[in-house]
């Protein structure tokens, strides 16, 4: 996985810039601080902070998928046979027993022995994502077939394709965003969430990405013509990466991100002549 190197007035700024370039969340990246920032007289920056970062490589995650568990539970018994205690459901007090319900939410990762098993490969995870999306379409009574692809070595792209999938996209893609969260949660169950995964339904994300690239190009033209920088709407890390990548390929403009999540936005500005 490639390292990117970025600078900023503070280490935090440099890290933010790196996350934009990578298009991932902080927890999916790892950093080396190459140089701390040093300030000169009157708070002027004498030396910018420099960091390098990369997407956290696919480390052995302390999780295990359901197939593995079942295999351990007993090879010969089919999945739901009663070799798992049902005490949890039958022995539960009728109403809400306050204390343990609150604890359950923030419960620390259980260190079962099977946590030591190697993480499933990207291929296995992709297959789980595919099966999950197919099952979801079926539960909705929709005709959809999903396909998966692994890009850049470890990024899983799962796409549900078919007609009449609008229900799974929702207004402004909200339902799709939820579907993506759920697919991730199902595939990356366990305390450490690793690899990157994108889910698309009915080509929605692809159309959106294409529109974003067009819009970034238009904005870049406008910035070049006017010589005035333009701020784009706040957008998530992945979208900012799309904009940065687009601007990077154009002459005469450059981009950087400003502000704090979730209102972080891309600024497109004219190139400053190098001095």
């Amino acid at each position: 996985m490639e390292w990117v190197e970025t600078t900023g007035r503070t280490v935090e700024e440099a890290k933010d810039a790196a996350l934009d370039r990578l298009g991932v969340d902080e927890r999916d990246a790892e950093f080396d601080v190459l140089e701390e920032a040093r300030s000169g007289l009157f708070g002027r920056v004498r030396q910018e902070a420099r960091v390098r970062a990369r997407v956290r490589p696919d480390h052995p995650r302390p999780r295990v998928d359901r197939r593995e568990r079942r295999r351990q539970g007993g090879e010969s018994t089919p999945a739901s046979a009663g070799n798992r205690p049902r005490a949890a459901s039958s022995g539960r007090p009728g109403g809400g027993s306050g204390a343990d319900s609150a604890d359950a939410v923030d419960v620390a990762p259980r260190d079962d022995a099977d946590d030591m098993l190697p993480a499933p490969s990207s291929e296995e995870q992709a297959e789980e994502a595919r099966a999950f999306l197919d099952g979801l379409a079926a539960a909705f009574g929709l005709q959809g077939v999903s396909e998966v692809e692994i890009v850049d070595g470890d990024q899983i792209e799962a796409r549900l394709v078919g007609d009449g999938l609008g229900l799974l996209i929702g207004p402004k893609g909200q339902t799709l965003a939820a579907v993506q969260d759920l697919t991730r949660a199902v595939v990356q169950r366990g305390p450490r969430r690793g690899g990157r995964m994108r889910v698309d339904v009915g080509g929605y994300q692809q159309r959106r990405r294409e529109a974003l690239v067009r819009f970034a190009r238009q904005t870049a033209e406008q910035v070049k013509d006017s010589g005035v920088a333009v701020s784009m709407e706040p957008m998530p890390a992945y979208d900012r990466k799309v904009v940065h990548d687009t601007i990077n390929d154009l002459a005469g403009v450059q981009s950087r991100s400003e502000g704090e999540e979730p209102r972080r936005q891309v600024l497109i500005m004219p190139d400053v002549p190098a001095d």
Binding site: A104, L136, T175, R189
Partner: protein, 108 residues
């Protein structure tokens, strides 16, 4: 109408309990949403057999109550309730064609 009880696996082994008098569960409003909810929760937990989904109807619409095994609540709630909210969003989408409002509660 009364409560529809759809426990994990109960539909096949105790039909009398599963649906009151309707002979086709798919005719019930919100049947798709219930299927979707059950599908999502079972996909998230370790202990599928402990998953129970209860559906009640009140004036505001359908109220679905989800129960999971002891160690699985964290999985269906997620950090800061993110997964629980994603489940609600998707289940509401599934109920949209039926024109029913759905509330999903996670109880234990």
């Amino acid at each position: 109408m009364g409560a529809v009880h759809v426990a994990g696996g109960a539909v096949s082994d105790s039909p009398a309990q599963a649906v009151d008098d309707d002979d086709d569960a798919n005719q019930l409003p919100g049947a798709t949403a219930t299927d979707v909810l059950e599908y999502l929760v079972k996909a998230l937990v370790d202990d599928e057999d402990a998953v129970e989904v209860d559906v009640d109807e009140d004036r505001r619409g359908l109220r679905m109550q989800v129960r999971v095994g002891a160690g699985d609540m964290g999985r269906v709630i997620g950090r800061r309730g993110r997964i629980a909210n994603a489940i609600r969003t998707v289940v509401r989408a599934a109920a949209a064609p039926d024109g029913v409002a759905v509330d999903v509660d996670f109880v234990d």
